[in-house]
Symmetry: none
Subunit: 217 residues, 4 copies
């Protein structure tokens, strides 16, 4: 978990031969988009923040929209990475998930850690999703489908073992995902200035999911 990568590393890795100026542009754009939103951020503003001429931005990214895409695509890919890598959970994280609790605990900690590390980027993603058809499509194709597919397998194996209650798989996945993201959104987007006892909240959230999905004896 401590080896998780931050946004920029990911982007820089994805785009080869990245110049120093390009790097500055990306950092500036992420900060600006995150703070004021994509539509309300001007390219002039990004250029100034990056200490770069406005034209330089367009040399690297044909349009402003391209810049947004360049920022969000790596995030989406990394967000779902653990779910598409074969046996990611067992191999990479070295966990065998004998129990549903272990699984939930691993996934919550892992993804919340990731979200926290990439707050700004993720903030941009969920802020912009309602306004961009293509982003929504990307989200649906990548995040929704791929995460769902992997979770489905795992959830069904737990269901077979009667470790979780008998509700439609997609419902339990949705409820799980919603609970995790719900915490993140409340924590970092809706009420960022409130006092939060993060450890306790995360543990409570895990318990909530577990209680909500495991059967009474």
């Amino acid at each position: 978990m401590s080896s998780q990568e931050s946004i920029l590393d990911l982007i820089l890795k994805e785009e080869k031969n990245i110049t120093n100026k390009q790097k500055k542009i990306l950092i500036a754009a992420i900060e600006a988009f995150s703070d004021k939103g994509y539509a309300a951020t001007s390219t002039n503003e990004i250029a100034k923040k990056a200490g770069v001429a406005e034209g330089t931005i367009f040399r690297h990214y044909k349009t402003k929209k391209d810049l947004l895409t360049a920022i969000l695509t790596p995030l989406v890919h990394t967000l779902i990475a653990p779910f598409i890598v074969k046996d990611f959970f067992s191999k990479v994280l070295d966990l065998s998930y004998n129990t549903f609790e272990e699984f939930i605990r691993a996934i919550v900690y892992n993804r919340l850690e990731f979200l926290k590390k990439n707050q700004a980027l993720f903030k941009i993603l969920i802020q912009e999703i309602p306004f961009h058809e293509d982003l929504r499509e990307l989200f649906k194709e990548q995040i929704a489908k791929k995460i769902f597919k992997r979770m489905e397998e795992l959830v069904e194996s737990f269901k077979a073992k009667s470790e979780i209650i008998d509700i439609p798989t997609y419902s339990s996945v949705r409820l799980t995902v919603t609970s995790i993201f719900g915490y993140f959104i409340a924590r970092y987007i809706l009420l960022p200035e409130a006092k939060w006892n993060d450890e306790e909240e995360i543990e409570t959230t895990i318990q909530f999911i577990l209680y909500g999905l495991t059967p009474r004896k």
Copy 2:
């Protein structure tokens, strides 16, 4: 529940002496803001959609931002209305809440019904919250604080009766609210085009909350 009012009725009631054109402007603005977002909607666009001269918008709403506020303020007030009316749940809904389940069931159905009826408006609210300091303040003061206060009382009474598990009250409120809104956002904002079995999903959500918060015997 069937007597719940829709957005526009609320706005029209709040603003007396509303013109016919003004009404058209509000309807057009709600549709446009909901579809493309506040920043990406031009006043010219709203005017055309409303069949009105652009200047007419500014006769009624000094700025574009004022128009947004005029749209969202009544929503916020109505969204929290059930929580500030004394004994709303028992009197208006004619329920006595002997059990936590009855309470959850009532609140989920009631607020989801309301959100569904005011989809467009609520979509605007959550889409714009990240970009407007004042909206965030309004949300925090009204929705977060007032809903929380009322829920807190109820939840604590259930906790006293050992009907729900012993976790911090604010956590259980957050988890409940997150689960309800989580369904709404997934349903109407993130994946509106997916097929949804609404009745089943709602019931599952209720069960999830109940299981997640009630103690094992």
Copy 3:
């Protein structure tokens, strides 16, 4: 001199059957035009200041320009009144002007008194003259020509008596008028906030004109 009339009286006399609202409009317009200039004053602003509907202004004055004209025309007429009334100086002011000094003294006190009483109006006149061809024409036809004509007669009579030096009549008139208006403009338009010892300045101005135009013995 004490019987001199103020702006509004003049206007109200000129326009018969003036309503109360119309009066309020004129007062408001004079104040606004004087403060911010004609071009920078909106009819909406005037309406508000007058406590009148915007439409009411246009019921009485077809255009904004008409309103300006309605304000300035009486001023121009009154400004030149003393110069066109036959024997104004000797009859009305009860002076016989045996000497040039008496003449200058009378005219300076009389017109400065008038300007002071109608500061706002006169401020509008000289502020707007550079921007309105018709105003400039009115000024030229009325003020320049008519004042000049009368002054010319008087000045030439003094010149004949060798009471003033032998320079072109139009020059001496210009220098006299310039000196009077020069004081007024410096006093009320350019440096209104400076401390002014009015009595002394006026007396000095009179002396200056006298010395400047009368011959050395």
Copy 4:
């Protein structure tokens, strides 16, 4: 005197690295503001006159007001330049001012020449002064104070030599300045279309000031 610089030269010198388009904008703005007044001139109009896109204006001057300031500031500085340069009159103009007449003659010719060369600019300055607080402040601080200070020294030296009459220094300065500007305003702003015998008028004006301020023997 023949070496006096014109407006644009001054502005271009003040603002380094001036673009060709920027130069065109300044020329167009000066012409337009001078003709129709600042408030009545649209930026679109200036752009067309300058053969430039409207956006180009705002690239160089953040606001329309900034454009006005960029035009007028150099004028003010140059207008007062002779008065702040040490010994300007004696050194640069190579005059020793043994007499008050020499002094007046030099100053009238010099400043009227300057005003004539910069008619349009000066017209803008006096047209806009009544409407802009900051311009009035600039005028007061620069022109009024600095010119006054220098004139005061000279006038007092003449007063000591009994070359001019014993009236308050500020009065004699005001009367002198008013007489010069009075001619200019009558000549170029109020009655530009009248026939003027400039040489004669200037000589008469000088005589007027001299007579008005020098004592009778």
